[in-house]
Symmetry: C2
Subunit: 133 residues, 2 copies
């Protein structure tokens, strides 16, 4: 099973002014996510911008052969749920964690997803119900 | 240079009710994008959902070793601009087309982007100006 990467946008201001010397919200989220050990199979890596600034704070999940996901409107309080979702993503076959097993923020705060490179029509157009996308 | 894939969400309703028998807005966008020859180096592939439903219609651009991008709030009238942006993306080193060379809709209607797998810190945190993200 390929390892998953959880990218955390470090520079996100979440639409708020940041007091000089204070950590931007994105850096606060990164600190919360890396306060303990990372989940099994997950590397947590900081990135400067995920171009989701109007929906920050944001994170992206990706791994070889899997759908990549971007989630937004996140805060440090969501850290445990994000890590739980990342662990389930890492353990999945192609990034598609069954709908009911996803943390609520992953169900409700997905910004977008990108198909795996070279994905088959069966993966791209399974005629799946929209709710499980 | 790796080929780029332009994924088009076929099922997108763009938040509107679709009259029975009418093509959903996503399928209309796909038809507009595939009406002529695809740009050099670009494959255009349909997909059922990019999980960007609140910002549809949407497309995703991806290629091996490159940042993946998702764009939204698109309509068939944007087809030429999307194809131009896809061609520039395909010709780029790692998906990063210089800001001024991007079509306006790519500058203004980016929903999110995902780093390339195994990207180096130089790519992930270049301390680049946010405007070029």
């Amino acid at each position: 099973m390929a390892r998953a990467t959880l990218y955390v946008c470090m520079t996100c201001k979440a639409g708020q002014p940041v007091t000089e010397g204070a950590l931007p919200p994105g850096a606060q989220l990164h600190a919360a996510l890396t306060a303990g050990d990372p989940p099994e199979g997950v590397d947590i890596i900081s990135v400067e911008c995920l171009s989701a600034c109007t929906q920050g704070c944001s994170v992206a999940l990706t791994k070889a052969g899997a759908w990549g996901y971007v989630y937004g409107r996140l805060s440090p309080e969501n850290a445990a749920e994000i890590l739980d979702g990342a662990a389930r993503y890492a353990a999945s076959e192609n990034g598609l964690v069954p709908w009911r097993e996803r943390p609520e923020i992953f169900r409700k705060q997905s910004i977008a997803r990108i198909p795996p490179l070279g994905a088959s029509p069966a993966i791209l157009t399974p005629n799946a119900r929209k709710v499980s996308a």
